[in-house]
Amino acid sequence: MSEMPDIAPIRVLIGKPGLDGHDRGAKIVARALRDAGMEVIYTGLHQTPEMIVSAALQEDVQAIGLSILSGAHLTLFERTKSLMDERGCGDIILFGGGIIPGDDAEALVAMGVDAVFTPGTPTGKIVEYVKAAVEERAENGAS
């Protein structure tokens, strides 16, 4: 096996905050991102926003993806976003998926969540989104 190419892989954290115990969706997305060449830090079930943001900081990820099925998406995303700003990593891309009604999705975007995917979104679309969003942010950051 030869060494990997020089370009650093994108690092993404996939987490599952909240009380519900279904991480199938989160794992499918995690695997799809890995298969697209990304390094995916999977943090498991029942995470608090504090845990997720602190892990994202130490892992120096470019994106955080949260899967929320419990219906508590508004509070969980709001808390995550405000912690990110507080701790100086508001520049990390924040996206999410789960059972999120359209109105709530709009509310999430309004509070600064970068993208919201509804169940059934093809994983390829999420992969493309993460790639494009990371690239765009890197360009903006560099200028």
Binding site: M1, S2, E3, M4, P5, D6, A8, P9, R11, A30, R31, L33, R34, D35, A36, G37, M38, E39, V40, I41, Y42, T43, G44, Q47, T48, E50, M51, S54, A55, L57, Q58, E59, D60, R87, G88, C89
Partner: protein
């Protein structure tokens, strides 16, 4: 952020800077060598512990417990956990952290997941440098979790002061590997999942292999039992680690370890660096490789050509 500024922030113990610095080193990006130049002189104060063993043996769970125990002694702890990258896509699923999430609010704990990025031997290409960074950042203890117990997976043994090999009851293949000589890789043996059937048998099997060592070493590694999920056996493991460190400190062994580790680090890094450079400098690389494959040229000559190519190449 400028590299000098970044280095200063790392030395001041700023976690975000440390996280960034690790990424810089890991990606080999511009500034990586400068950063290492600045920080390496500040390393050397930390105690380093390697935890290795087969996937699923309970290494991450055990590392979580070690962190807990060390924090109770008020030692700050950094952990680096390595998982394999896919050889096909370069991607990786890094799941070790799942077992260590409860330390999230503790400023005295820093955890970082690393993909091995295609490198054999249990470590990623930059793991040693990352350990130096964490050391320079002031952590009292740096723990490295690696995958594997095979003979190809022993790099960690030479790069951390104390190496713990984690086995589980019924792992007969590991006993075979130990007989074949992997024994030297561990300073402490742990039979984890001691809540399971067969732990006693596993401990005796390891002990009997250790007694076969010829010549008998001046220190026989202890074989301990743990149940990481319940937290049983952690205090004795921490004591054994202290004991091993005390043994290292005697008779200049620690100095010998440092020299050996430095040489291994140099050989490893230089080997890859020179290979990469030679391959990059080789004119018509594909043609040369084809000629090697078709027996038109033999290896010694191609090596001479490659070495000359490095010498004649403009400095990178």
């Amino acid at each position: 952020m400028k590299i000098d500024q970044l280095a200063r922030a790392v030395l001041e113990g700023e976690p975000r800077a440390l996280a960034r610095a690790i990424s810089v080193v890991e990606s080999g990006a511009e500034g990586a060598s400068h950063l290492i130049d600045l920080l390496y002189p500040h390393s050397g104060g930390a105690t380093t512990i390697g935890v290795t063993g087969a996937p699923g043996a309970g290494k991450s769970t055990l590392v979580d417990r070690l962190i807990e125990g060390l924090r109770a002694e008020e030692k700050s702890v950094a952990a680096v956990a390595i998982d394999p990258s896919s050889p096909f896509t370069g991607g990786a699923l890094l799941g070790d952290r799942v077992r260590m999430m409860r330390h999230h609010a503790d400023d005295g704990v820093f955890i970082r997941s690393m993909a091995n990025r295609g490198r054999f031997g249990g470590l990623a290409p930059t793991t040693r440098s990352v350990v130096h960074l964490l050391d320079a950042a002031g952590f009292d203890v740096v723990i490295v979790e690696t995958v594997g117990v095979g003979q190809a997976e022993v790099s960690v043994a030479g790069s951390t002061m104390s190496t713990v090999l984690v086995l589980v009851p019924g792992q007969g293949d590991a006993i075979q590997a130990l007989k074949a000589g992997v024994m030297e890789v561990a300073d402490i043996f742990v039979v984890n999942k001691a809540d399971r059937e067969g732990a006693d048998r596993m401990v005796s099997a390891i002990e009997s292999v250790l007694q076969l060592a010829d010549p008998l070493p001046d220190r026989t590694p202890p074989v301990l039992r743990t149940c990481a999920t319940r937290g049983d056996g952690i205090a004795p493991l921490l004591e054994a680690l202290d004991g091993h460190r005390a043994w290292l400190r005697k008779a200049k062994r620690l100095q010998d370890f440092r020299i050996a580790a430095a040489e291994e680090e140099l050989r490893d890094a230089l080997g890859h660096h020179l290979t990469d450079r030679a391959i990059a400098a080789l004119d018509e690389k594909e043609a040369w490789i084809e000629r090697l494959a078709s027996r038109e040229v033999a290896l010694p000559r191609l090596i001479r050509v490659a070495v000359r190519a490095i010498r004649d190449a403009p400095r990178p």
